[in-house]
């Protein structure tokens, strides 16, 4: 039981540090056991330091830095014990445009390991996917799903389309 945990911990720990460096182009982060001598009861803490910065407290990180750190953790687990699919609802909301693009390319590589369903408002995410659906409520209060071609024109029309109301 403690062995299983220890085993998983070591693998996820390694992946997490690696993926963090990749998402941040540098810096370092680690998963640390709160009570390394008690594997049955220990908790797990996150230390994260974006490149060039000198702070250890997670709370002082920016909104986007925290989101990327969380993403590194989710994907570290994915590499060690993948779920068949992942559903990610607007996790790119706090990211700036450059980080959205990098995250979109990053997810592409994991498309081999698992299926991804990504809800997003960000254009740079929409261009890096295989299939694009638009949800619309042209009839009030009733959702409809449309297949969108992965071209700029259809994406643009769907984003700017609004039912004409009074």
């Amino acid at each position: 039981m403690a062995d299983l945990f220890a085993n998983t911990f070591i693998k996820v720990k390694k992946e997490f540090s690696q993926i963090f460096r990749e998402l941040f182009s540098g810096g370092r982060a680690e998963l640390i056991l709160s009570e390394p001598d008690d594997l049955l009861k220990t908790g797990v803490n996150i230390n994260a330091q974006p490149p060039g910065k000198n702070l250890k407290s997670l709370s002082l990180l920016s909104g986007g830095e925290r989101a990327l750190t969380a993403i590194a953790l989710v994907f570290a687990f994915l590499k060690v014990k993948p779920s068949p699919f992942y559903v990610l609802d607007e996790i790119d909301a706090p990211l700036d445009d450059v980080n959205v693009t990098r995250f979109a390319k990053f997810i592409r590589r994991y498309g081999e390991i698992a299926q991804f369903i990504i809800i997003t408002h960000r254009r740079y995410m929409m261009t890096e996917v295989d299939t694009l659906y638009g949800v619309t409520m042209s009839e009030s209060g009733v959702s409809r799903l449309l297949s969108l071609e992965l071209n700029e024109k259809q994406i643009e029309e769907h984003i700017t389309a609004r039912k004409e109301t009074g």
């Binding site: 998983t8 993403i71 060690v80 559903v87 809800i119 995410m125 694009l132 619309t136 009839e139 009733v142």
Partner: protein, 165 residues
């Protein structure tokens, strides 16, 4: 196993039967605020056994049934089905396709079905046990929730490891 399709019928704003085909690696869902994107996320959580109405943004389970609009009457039942490709026989069932369904009626009476046959939630959990799927864990990250992963208490974080182990 991989997911082929998510079917929503009467679930929240999806009054009409809607099939979301998931036959590629990376699928994005876009649309205006309030159009129904997160409702699809709720549907997946729900059919995998979510027990908390609050996590689904309602106060009772029957709140997931289409409640009517200015042009359409409310419905009396909601159902969501996941269609899985089982050609590699990873799930302990025969057949190239396996479906998991959950229904609820307006009195809050619910049902789970595997391949159309009524079963208990426990049977679904057993079926999915080695696949890493479940309505807990970290495979479904809800809107606004990415931050809370980082702020999890050390023992909460530990639980993620135990689930992955």
């Amino acid at each position: 196993i991989f997911l082929k399709k998510i079917r929503l019928k009467g679930f929240k704003s999806f009054a009409k039967k809607t099939d979301v085909e998931i036959n590629t690696n990376i699928t994005a869902i876009v649309g205006p605020n309030g159009s129904g994107k997160s409702n699809i996320v709720d549907a997946v959580r729900w059919v995998l056994g979510e027990q908390s109405a609050r996590t689904l943004r309602g106060s009772r389970m029957a709140d997931v049934i289409f409640a009517g609009s200015s042009e359409r009457k409310q419905l009396h039942e909601a159902s969501v089905t996941l269609f899985f490709d089982n050609t590699e026989n990873k799930l302990a069932l025969d057949g190239d396709e396996v479906t998991i369904t959950r229904k609820v009626d307006e009195d809050g009476r619910g049902d789970y079905l595997i391949n159309g046959a009524s079963c208990r939630l426990k049977d679904i959990e057993m079926l999915l046990m080695d696949t890493g799927l479940g309505s807990d864990g970290y495979a479904i990250v809800g809107q606004g929730k990415i931050d809370s992963i980082i702020h999890s208490k050390p023992d909460k974080l530990r639980e993620l490891f135990e689930e992955a182990a």
